[in-house]
Amino acid sequence: MNSEEIITVATGVVKSWDWATETSRPLPKQLDVKVKLIKELVPIIVGLRVKRLGYLAAITGIDLGPEVGEMDVLYQFCPGDVVITLRVRVPRQEAMLPSLCEIIPSAEVFERELQEMFGIQMLGLHTTEHLYLPDDWPDGVYPMRKDFDPQILSH
């Protein structure tokens, strides 16, 4: 499949959820899908997987800061030379997302990272143990959030 075909197939998959998504193409080889309903995220990813577009390259969290009170989570799929990004937005307080481990086992490391660095609870992820942070890291402190103060670790 060349890049145009990949984008056509992926757009076709996402179109079945057009009430819950917004699609754009920031660059010729990028497809950006805003997923407005979090419960539709897993079905869309299953749809991509069925079409063999499910190579998950990364899950990226971005804190938008306490003023906005929300965080972005980007699921980056990289079939061929195309980057398909699924975006969801979660609140900073009690953020929750469904785990992808059942469909994409390699998502586990990315999800554990999100869980401890951003404080997003991953529903269905079996482990809550730290992957990167020390065992004695204080509870409820998420270092990749914008308002993280390293001073908290000094005493």
Binding site: P26, Y55, G80, P105, V109, L131
Partner: protein, 399 residues
């Protein structure tokens, strides 16, 4: 009092020092006799918070920070970062700079693959192989030093181009070095494909099927040895790879032997590419002008590091610092696979399976602890002892 007889199970932690990743790793292998039944990964022993630190520094300062993510593949990290920032700033480095970037990236791949080859030879107990391949690796290290002034952290990139040019003398010394290394690689390929002792440690060990590699998201030579045609240089050419294409080396066996052969055959592609670049190096400028502030936006950049696909994601808010910088290294993808692969194997195969994904083993002496269910304090084994266990195990089999 616990009178119930518990089955004897050992948990063997390997690590934490493990410098191939962004951070060292710890693997806990549960064994039933000699067979691994469970494997767990724990990372973060030297997490330096580079992603967070990058948010506090300017675009230019970050370049120097990024180059220190990894000592083995520092160039490819800086390259991915530069390409992503250039994409955001709508700047394109001149063709000569792009060609030099690819040249250094391929020299780095040669040094990295030779390093890996020696280390895995050592893990197999084949120290002659280790000594020779590291001696030969010095040749490419010298070339890199002559070219950039540094053996590691070459600092070849700047935002918008490269720092140095090539002269005729350097070109001649690269050519000489490449000819020598090509001949040596041919010899090593012959060794890994024919040496009976070595094949015992690699053939049919750690087999990963194509479907497994795909679903576990393996990348780089590890994936290509399982017949997954995934190479960013080919799939999404960056820098000068459009002008200097490479062939993907595939193998369908998926075992350690295949991983050796794929990496060694890849080296021939690198030699070929380097010669082609030296023959047809475009003229012109070395840098393009970069603005101090980078326009707001997002960029995803994928490059092929020696160990596989490396992904950088950058979000800019229009200031002189990035809003978010995300690094996904290839080893984190391959780790998942190695953990699953080890299950069902002999403990003696663990060092080789770990070495097979090339998680740079420059830190030699790792502490290994053997814990039994009725001896909670456990017994300490060093990595050397575990390695020796592997070698002795196969020697016993031979008798």
């Amino acid at each position: 009092m616990n009178t119930k007889q518990e089955p004897q199970r050992f948990v063997i932690p390997i690590g934490p020092q493990h410098p191939a990743l962004k951070e060292p790793g710890n693997f806990q292998f549960t064994v039933d006799g000699e067979i691994v039944t469970k494997a767990i990964v724990r990372l973060g022993y030297a997490h330096r918070g580079i992603e967070k630190a990058a948010e506090e520094r300017t675009w230019i300062q970050d370049l120097y920070l990024i180059e220190r993510v990894c000592g083995i593949c520092s160039h490819i990290h800086a390259l991915a970062y530069c390409l992503a920032v250039e994409q955001l700033a709508h700047v394109e480095a001149p063709p000569r700079a792009q060609a030099i970037r690819v040249l250094v990236a391929e020299l780095e791949r040669i040094h990295s693959h030779f390093l890996w080859m020696g280390v895995s030879g050592h893990e197999a107990g084949f120290d002659t192989f280790f000594m020779y391949s590291w001696r030969d690796r010095e040749r490419v290290m010298n070339i890199l030093e002559k070219l950039t002034g540094n053996r590691v952290n070459y600092s070849a990139n700047v935002l918008g181009g490269v720092k140095f040019d090539l002269d005729q003398e350097q070109i001649a010394s690269i050519r000489g070095g490449i000819d020598f290394l090509e001949e040596r690689t041919r010899h090593y390929l012959d060794v890994v494909a024919t040496d009976f002792m070595f094949l015992q440690r690699t053939r049919g060990i750690g087999v990963m099927s194509r479907a497994q590699a795909e679903i576990m998201g393996a990348v780089g030579p590890t994936a290509r040895a399982s017949n997954v045609a995934r190479d960013v240089r080919k799939d999404a050419p960056y820098a000068a790879y459009k002008e200097y294409p490479v062939d993907i080396i595939l193998d369908e066996r998926g075992d350690l032997e295949a991983r050796f052969e794929v990496r060694l055959k890849e080296l021939f592609e690198s030699f070929h590419l380097i010669r082609k670049i030296l023959d047809t190096l475009p003229g012109g400028e070395l840098t393009a002008r970069m603005p101090r502030k980078v326009p707001a936006g997002e960029a995803v950049m994928r490059v092929e590091a020696p160990r596989g696909e490396l992904l950088y994601f950058i979000r800019s808010n229009g200031s002189d610092k990035p809003e978010r910088l995300k690094i996904r290294t290839p080893t984190i993808c391959n780790l998942t696979s190695v953990v699953k692969l080890a299950i069902g194997h002999q403990l003696a195969d663990v060092p080789m399976i770990l070495a097979g994904i090339d998680p740079c083993f420059s830190c030699n002496d790792r502490s290994v602890q053997i814990r039994t269910s009725n001896d909670p304090d456990g017994r300490m084994l060093s990595w050397d002892e575990l390695r020796q266990h592997g070698i002795d195990f196969y020697k016993r089999l031979e008798k």
